[in-house]
């Protein structure tokens, strides 16, 4: 196993910058998820690490070698593809054996390793089958097996679960996580599904528009998103972002909505908005930090329930405030009807404030 360092990595296609000065370090044995919406540069970044695409500028270090100019085969990596990319004309056995044959291992050693990998992944009885005779989950397993049979320095995974059905995805998610824990493998895992990143990764790198937005543990990213993009991308349902305007009333810092209502800020929050570049402030609140009242309460803002989605454990209520969608979760035994008058109370301790101009999180200085 080895660590991976990306230093000011840039990849351009003509005038389009797919990856923009991305720098990050993946520690030995760490599971890092590259996450972001489609087109954010995460797959390009992975292909750069794999050597399938050439670097425009910057450095990629795997172990202690700069690998920019090395062929994929010389980088000591293994990759699991979204569509698995199993060799269709080869049996499962030959698929697993291929990376070892390419490295010219002796025949008996290949046989031993293939059978060991098959045993670990519980597919010994599938070895003679062709990929097309396998179910999606089994194909996924073979793809994983082909990666681990060789004991590479780094595992690269490109959305390996996105072609599986929902149930299998959850199951394979825990299997890959287990696999990481058992092997202490260095894994770079690309996904567009923030839930996968949050549940599996030691650290997640949130990307958007080719830029690395935030690189931290899922808990930190969730609790302290650096900007509005990260705030809205991580967490489901998404964090509500309400555009407001800062002003003062009776000596208190308040946020005023274009709809006329105001929200008085706590001392700590009032200090945060002093760092804003303009009076435009965006209030961010996760669904669980907004309290829903069915009657007027001091400090609560009146709104109308728009949709009500019971999920069993929890019921999600959507409302509009200042033109923004607000998600609120309530206990299922609180009955809310669409178009019902409700009052929303924001938790001052757990609310996020963003600069309306720069979209960056406002922190107490």
């Amino acid at each position: 196993m080895a660590h991976v360092v990306l230093k000011d990595l840039v990849k351009t296609y003509g005038s389009f910058k797919a990856v923009n000065e991305v720098s990050l370090t993946v520690n030995d044995g760490e599971f890092v998820a590259l996450v972001g919406p489609s087109g954010c540069g995460k797959t390009t970044t992975l292909n750069l690490v794999a050597g399938l695409t050439t670097v425009t500028s910057g450095d990629i270090v795997i172990g202690d070698r700069v690998v920019n100019e090395l062929d994929p085969k010389d980088r000591d990596i293994a990759m699991v593809f979204q569509n698995y990319a199993l060799y269709p004309q080869k049996s499962v056995y030959m698929n697993l054996a291929f990376p070892l044959q390419m490295r010219k291992l002796p025949r008996d050693e290949i046989d031993r390793k293939v059978k060991e990998a098959a045993r670990v992944l519980d597919m010994t009885q599938l070895l003679e089958r062709k990929p097309r005779e396998l179910s999606g989950g089994q194909q996924q397993r073979v793809a994983l097996g082909r990666a681990l049979v060789r004991d590479p320095a780094v595992f690269l995974m490109d959305e390996p679960l996105s072609n599986l059905d929902a149930k299998l995805r959850v199951q394979m998610r825990s299997e890959i996580k287990r696999f990481h824990q058992d092997l202490k493998a260095t894994i770079i895992y690309v996904t567009h599904d923030q839930l996968e990143a949050v549940t599996m990764a030691d650290r997640m790198a949130v990307m958007n528009g080719g830029y690395l937005q935030q690189y931290d543990s899922p808990a930190q990213v969730f609790a302290h998103p650096v900007n509005m993009f990260v705030a809205s991308f991580v967490g489901s349902p998404a964090m509500s972002l309400i555009p407001l305007e800062a002003s003062t009333a009776n000596g208190d810092a308040v946020l005023t909505s274009a709809e006329g209502w105001t929200l008085t800020l706590s001392q700590a929050n009032a200090r945060k908005i002093q760092g804003a570049t303009s009076r435009k402030i965006v209030l961010g609140a996760r669904h669980s930090t907004i309290k829903l009242h069915k009657s007027a309460v001091p400090g609560a803002i009146s709104a109308k329930a728009y949709t009500v989605e019971p999920t069993g454990d929890v019921t999600f209520v959507q409302a509009f405030l200042s033109g923004a969608i607000v998600n609120i979760s309530v206990s299922p035994n609180i009955a809310v009807a669409p178009d019902e008058q409700i009052w929303l109370e924001f938790d001052q301790e757990r609310m996020h404030l963003f600069d309306g101009e720069s979209e960056m999180a406002l922190r107490a200085s």
């Binding site: 794999a50 050597g51 399938l52 062929d71 994929p72 085969k73 980088r75 990596i77 293994a78 990759m79 593809f81 979204q82 569509n83 698995y84 990319a85 199993l86 060799y87 269709p88 004309q89 291929f98 990376p99 390419m102 490295r103 062709k130 990929p131 097309r132 005779e133 396998l134 999606g136 194909q139 082909r146 060789r150 690269l156 072609n163």
Partner: protein, 296 residues
């Protein structure tokens, strides 16, 4: 329960009747097409086993009174002058067609792969240019190519035909093969390269076997194209010992009185390789080899 069963069976019957009308129309149409294409061939076969006299009879003998293989024996007999010519023409055709096929595969495989996988300046223009040649009727190029061949001294050589057939066959071969390569997911090669193969190994070990049906299909196409070609062979070659079958058959049998059974026997033997190749081709087209490679 019973009412539900009844209505559903009624509905089924009604649906089946409607489909049957169309299906019968389709069947009749297909049978007519089959007769249209097969009858001339049947007639060719029947005529080839008649005697010269029986072939000219009116009303025609639908089934020869005295079937004979004389014409075939004559054509395949190296002692006979007719047989000598026929066998030589056959050999010439075989040589020209095989050489065309081999060269076209050798050039088309890497060219199609490059068009499919790499982006390079002028890629689209080049690909269009490749196809441009096939957008004009072949005969347009007859005179220019003849002048060109004369200038480089290739008139009356098989080389002139091979080169010419490549200009027809290659664009089509490249175009067909590119389709095959486009359908092979690029991730397979990427996986192979990560698994330790060089770019060339990934191509030879993974992509080539997968595109084998495509390569065979293209090879058969170029072979048939070259095998059947007439106008260029007729124009570029004038020496009797160089002629290919399509030209040779015609020359040879129209000199005196036409020997129809002989002509038909020669035509039949000329069509054997094409028919055999077509049967092979069909099998390879039906096969979907990449199934199971990736999940779509």
């Amino acid at each position: 329960m019973s009412t539900i069963a009844e209505t559903s069976s009624q509905r089924q019957t009604r649906r089946r009747v409607r489909v049957d009308g169309w299906r019968w129309g389709g069947r009749i149409f297909l049978v007519l097409m089959l007769l249209y294409t097969a009858l001339p061939m049947v007639w060719m076969l029947l005529t080839s086993i008649k005697s010269g006299f029986a072939a000219m009879q009116l009303p025609p003998q639908w089934w020869p009174d005295q079937p004979t293989l004389d014409s075939y024996q004559k054509l395949l007999d190296p002692q006979n002058s007719v047989g000598q010519d026929f066998l030589r023409f056959f050999w010439n055709s075989l040589f020209v067609s095989t050489a065309t096929t081999i060269l076209s595969v050798i050039v088309a495989v890497p060219a199609a792969y490059a068009f499919s996988r790499f982006t390079f300046p002028g890629r689209n223009f080049l690909f269009f240019a490749v196809l441009l040649r096939n957008m004009f009727p072949a005969v347009i190029f007859l005179v220019p190519l003849f002048i060109l061949m004369r200038a480089i001294g290739l008139v009356n050589t098989h080389g002139s035909l091979i080169l010419t057939y490549l200009t027809f066959g290659l664009p089509l071969a490249i175009w067909l093969l590119k389709g095959f390569y486009d359908n092979i997911p690029v991730q397979l090669e990427q996986a192979a390269r990560i698994d330790g193969a060089t770019r060339f190994q990934a191509f030879v070990l993974i992509v080539m076997p997968l595109s084998a049906p495509g390569i065979i299909a293209t090879a058969i196409y170029s072979f048939i194209g070259a095998w059947n070609e007439y106008i260029y062979a007729y124009t570029f070659l004038s020496k009797n010992e160089q002629l290919t079958l399509p030209v040779g058959i015609q020359r040879f049998f129209s000199e005196n009185t036409t020997d129809f059974p002989g002509l038909m026997a020669a035509s039949f033997m000329m069509s054997v390789p094409v028919v055999v190749l077509f049967l092979l081709l069909q099998r390879y087209f039906v096969r979907a080899l990449t199934e199971g490679a990736v999940k779509h």
